[in-house]
Structures are given as C-alpha cells and as structure tokens.
Symmetry: C2
DNA sequence: TATTGTTATACTCTATAACTATA
DNA sequence: TATAGTTATAGAGTATAACAATA
C-alpha cells in the first residue's frame, strides 16, 4: 500500500508517458494509425477471436472495435469469417497481408525504441514491461459501464479568449 | 540494449496501459477533462511559466496548449499574466480556485489507485514510477516537428462495410 | 526576419444511444 | 427478452497551416 504522494506521482508519469505513445504513433504509416496496429497485434498474439473478445482485449466499447475492424477489413488486413455456432457472431482472422503490415509496424517501432533506449539494459526493459503489465492487470476489466457517475459540473462558463473577440470577424 | 521481442512487448504494454489512463480519465469531472488536469499539475509542480514552456512540458504543439489554457482561464483556474520583459509572452499562474480543483482531482485519482493497487508494495509503485520517468526522459523532446516523414499510403481504399450498404438510407 | 501565441480546420480516439439480426 | 454487432452522433486530443503581434 503506497502513499498519496506516490499515487499523485504515478498519475503524473502516466500522463507523461503519453508523449512516448504519441511519438511512436507519429512514425506509423498514415493508412494504419494508432489503434489499427493494436488490433493487428492482438489478433497476431491471441489468434482468431470474435468482436466482443477483441473489444475486451482492447478495453474499449464494442462500437469502437467495430469501426477499427471495418477499417482493417477494407484494407484486406483482416477478415470477418462467419461463426458456425452463432450466426450473430463474426470471427476475426489476420490475413497474410495483415501479417506483412504488422511486420512493417514492428520494424518501425523497434527501430525507434532501439535508438531511444540504447542505454537501457535488457533487464531494465524487462522490469518496465513486467510492472506495466501488472498495472494493467490490477485494473482488470476497466471498460466503460453505466454504473460510474461523474461529479456535476460547476456553474456554466463562457469560453472567452483574451485577445480576439469571439465574433469580431464573422 | 534489448532484443526486438522485448521492444514489441513494450509497445504492446504501452498500448495496454492506455486502458488505465482511460479509466482514470473517466472519474474526472466533466468540466475538467483529461488534459486540463495535466496542465494544472504542471503549473503546480513547476510554478508559473510561459505558454511555450508549458507546451514543452506537455510535449504537445503550442496550439494544443493554447486551447487547453483558454479552457482553464475561462473557469478561473489559471491566469494569463503579462510578461514584463516580453510583450508577446504570457505568464501562466495557477489561481487558488485552480489549486482547489487540483486537490479534488488528486482525491479522485488517489482513491481509485488505492483501490486498484491495494496489493502493491510501496517499493513496487516506486519502481514503476522510476522506470516510467526514465522512459519519458529517454525520449527527450519528442514533440512533432516537420523533419519526420511518414510512409506513403497504399492504394486508395473504399471504406466498405459488410452488412449495410453505405448509402442505402440517405 | 524570427519568435510567441491564437485560431481554423481536420483527423483519430472514444463513448452513448438507436438500430438490426440472431439466440 | 437478451446478446452480437453496426451505425450515427458527439466530444476530447492532437496536428498543420494561416495569422497577428512583438522582438
């Protein structure tokens, strides 16, 4: 059990690591952005699965997964096969072209990481992987669900800007 | 220097940790979303600074920072003070109301983390913080800049969907 | 001319809600 | 009625480019 100061610092670091994610995303090809790579990776690691299972892995809503999958199907990187035991379901399958694409993605990210982490030891990288993996596990199934309630907003606010009147040139 | 397999796994874990970030973002009040907290935090930790410095801390484009700051100024959580030595510049200052807001945010995230990480030792949390901080440092100033080039896109693709013709009901 | 910041625009990611098809 | 998946819509995050003011 850690102290409040540690938790605050952890939140700061989670936010800061976002910059690393963005840097990695920037070297992706434009037709295969951020989330697409994640989908391909999961299918590569865990094999064929249905939409709902994929959404669980990604920890996002099924509607998000549906869009991402449509994008990948349109490019021929994955297929949606019928499920013999449930006609509502669709089995997702990584195609050879998708595997090629994935190899390309890994080549890009590996190269960038090799540059940036040239002074990291094998063991240090392993520890970071281990701890991040454990962090993810500790949060379990953290997809959105209706149970959670947000705090009410404060009084309404006028979005003002200091220098330029909002409607000076309309 | 780590191997390719480790780098691939690191990318996967960076992606997976996104679920944790989203879970934390979900408990934020609606009028103080994701990035707003990050801005308040940085001003709290590092004190007053100008826009460009803040953008550097956040590792985002100045235009992004400008929008986020305008949001926070509209709510009275930060102020834009004139810079006595450079009239182009504006010094950002956290207000007492902003500090109150920040306390509220920390209370929320700390509570969630205390629940999720109840079986983590103080030392383990410390190690994760240390390694993530080091990861961020290894990437240095990784803001977008024109030097980087993306790979050209493949042949154009028709975004098709399997079940519903795209324009069946327009 | 270069720098600081703002704004317009566009695209990705994510969520909620309404809908269709099947169980 | 409940579940699997799709689509429409909306909001946050981020980037590029055009712009204004100052150095």
């Amino acid at each position: 059990m850690a102290g409040q100061a540690q938790y605050e610092e952890l939140v700061r670091q989670l936010s800061a690591v976002g910059a690393v994610r963005r840097d990695l995303a920037r070297i992706m090809p434009p037709d295969c952005p951020a989330g697409s790579g994640a989908v391909l990776t999961i299918l590569d690691v865990h094999g064929d699965m249905r939409m709902s299972k994929l959404a669980e892995h990604l920890a996002v809503d099924l509607s998000v997964t549906s869009r991402q999958v449509a994008h990948l199907v349109a490019r021929g990187w994955i297929e949606r096969l019928p499920d013999p035991v449930d006609k509502r379901s669709r089995i997702l399958h990584l195609t050879p072209a998708g595997l090629d694409r994935l190899d390309d993605l890994f080549r890009r990210t590996t190269q960038l990481l090799a540059e940036r982490l040239s002074d990291w030891s094998d063991d240090e990288v392993g520890q970071l992987i281990h701890l991040m993996s454990r962090l993810r596990e500790s949060f379990g199934d953290c997809r959105p669900h209706p149970g959670r309630v947000h705090a009410p907003a404060d009084a309404p606010v006028i979005e003002e800007t200091t220098r330029t009147p909002a409607n000076a040139h309309t």
